[in-house]
Symmetry: C2
Subunit: 371 residues, 2 copies
């Protein structure tokens, strides 16, 4: 079998990736604790195979820092606290540090009250939503995380202009002998990365993924990448697209309206910050079930799902999280494949901002791994 493109990428171990990311966030001016948290979240995404939310974010984040859209020494503080809920102001920085604080506060509240919810306002891109939900599950709590997105890409059903970002929903729950259930999904039909794969392979996309500027299905991936008009999950109205549109709206209500952030299409022209909002929720299984029973019942559910007779015996039924855990095992062993072009971009950024660049390829040290 010919190697896939990823097989020819340099492999970066977790032990090298994390300090490089941390050094970049510090060189941008972030305090050490915030830089560490941002590096944690991006590294976790790369290990999980969520390539769109790991080191690949560095060029976008650099743009945000250079344009002043993101504050690099944000003052993160709790601005409301009401029993089992709170609101955190992210101070205009990236979303990782205030979101981690929000998850931990929601967990504390869930421990005390059975449930806790913490909204974050005045924030920015927070990385992969699943990392926050998983943090709750790894500590024994059911976790839910949603975020708004500052760039619109999802088109409401029957419309022809984008009104939402990919507005993801992440949900995680702790099991016993299984790793936590972990759902992390954009409320669009497919990710932008899928358009890129079709463009690379010069293939026509199925109708129902993207729209053209008149609101009709767009099957040319190159034009879809220019227009960025994505259908909500379900595609067109007849195949349930209004449900994905409804879910994207639900995410916007939880992340933006509840937190008191800006709805991107209505953000004041010339506003200094993106003012993105997030929502984090934790539920304590022991408030509902005897100790350990939630986890063993979830084991039984997950195992029953994996035991569903498959349509194709070569492709067994999985549960959400299975691909991510498999990727993490593989990448912890073999390293994270990073395209040379991206490494060069990151090197350029590191050199400009005065961060040490430690991911230069050493001949023979990390040869391409063939699987």
């Amino acid at each position: 079998m010919l190697p896939t493109m990823a097989d020819t990428h340099p492999r970066i171990t977790e032990a090298r990736l994390h300090p490089q990311l941390e050094a970049i966030f510090r060189a941008w001016g972030f305090p050490a604790d915030q830089a560490a948290v941002s590096a944690d979240v991006l590294t976790a995404a790369d290990l999980f195979g969520i390539d769109s939310h790991g080191i690949t974010l560095i060029p976008l984040y650099d743009e945000l820092v250079r344009s002043g859209t993101v504050a690099t020494a944000p003052d993160i503080c709790i601005v409301r606290d009401f029993g089992a809920t709170a609101v955190i102001d992210g101070g205009g920085g990236f979303g990782q540090a205030p979101s981690l604080q929000a998850v931990d506060l929601a967990i504390d509240k869930a421990r005390a009250f059975g449930i806790g919810a913490v909204a974050v306002r005045n924030s920015n891109h927070f990385g992969a939503a699943g990392i926050y939900a998983l943090r709750a599950a790894e500590r024994g709590f059911v976790g839910l995380a949603t975020t708004a997105v500052f760039q619109a890409s999802i088109v409401p059903t029957h419309g022809r202009e984008a009104r939402f970002g990919t507005n993801p929903i992440a949900f995680a729950a702790p099991a016993g002998r299984n790793p936590p259930f972990l759902l992390d999904m954009a409320t669009s039909t497919v990710a932008l990365g899928k358009f890129k794969l079709y463009a690379r392979d010069d293939k026509t996309m199925p109708p129902g993924w993207a729209l053209d500027q008149t609101g009709r299905p767009q099957t040319d991936p190159n034009q879809a990448l220019v227009d960025r008009l994505m259908t909500p999950l379900g595609g067109v109205r007849e195949s349930g697209g209004h449900k994905g549109y409804g879910l994207a709206t639900m995410v916007e209500i939880l992340s933006t309206i509840l937190a008191g952030s800006s709805y991107a299409p209505l953000r004041a022209a010339g506003a200094e910050r993106n003012d993105v909002g997030h929502f984090h929720l934790a539920l304590h299984p022991e408030a509902f079930r005897d100790k350990g029973v939630f986890e063993s019942d979830l084991d039984a559910l997950l195992e029953a799902l994996r035991a569903t007779p498959p349509a194709d015996p070569a492709q067994p039924v999985m549960v959400a999280g299975d691909p991510e855990y498999a990727a993490r095992e593989r990448r912890r062993r073999d390293g994270v494949p990073v395209p040379r072009s991206l490494l060069a971009q990151v090197q350029g950024i590191a050199e400009r901002i005065g961060a040490e660049f430690s991911l230069a390829e050493t001949a023979g040290s990390e040869p391409p791994v063939s699987r």
Copy 2:
């Protein structure tokens, strides 16, 4: 234009529908307060145009009562209370009465703690999920309601047997000058009713809605109605079906695992009750925002969405809930269209169980309304 089938159905006013439903629940043996709540929920669904969850449920409910699968004098009680959360045991009856109690308790807890969550176990079919979420929104709270379903119909991605019911998610939020946002969606691609429409019109269904017994797309609506193998929202894997599958699992975790109910495919053979679980959550906007600001910000969001340029000027962009509110306005004025065959079935049931039947057509009193 030829009249649609619905135009030829008798129209039943809310004032006649509700007492008829209530009389049937009472004749089955339900206490007066529970019968009234069940009638409220079914009537509300019929007014909203959710025809699958109104009076049409009476024959199914009658089967459940006759088979002893549902308890007709259930003892509903709070079995756990942990600050902002609680668990209610439905006593084996229908889900309406314990769910209404759960929503109201979640609201009380949200008023005190900012958020409240109440799970219901040992319950049964609860009607349309949206009615519960809307109850919270009508009282000024953000509401979320989910339920498991005792009959499996959704097939996990890559599988060929059903492992979930239609596992709906309902979410509602209070606005100011607009009616509440109201999302009520099954996590399947389309409803079974859609298969029925295609069967009636002798049309081939698009691939991606249903599967055959080998796990391949089923486009014959008649066979799809026999097999009842539905795809999760998104359809096949490539168009995002794994996301709908993940959402259905999330609903099962919240409704069944957290509540301590039975996951239908693992329910003990010969179990007397269906032991269905539900999950109800309420959030207090005033715990997050100054009084009135959540509602006015939601107005701005909803109005911005409706103002999205439409693909077809004749079909403006709507928000979730708009079709339901329009149906309610129409049906409050004109009555609920009920097929004669269904009325005859309900009459047969009423006569057998000793409930007065009050929906007999009076010539000329409620002529078909043409729109």
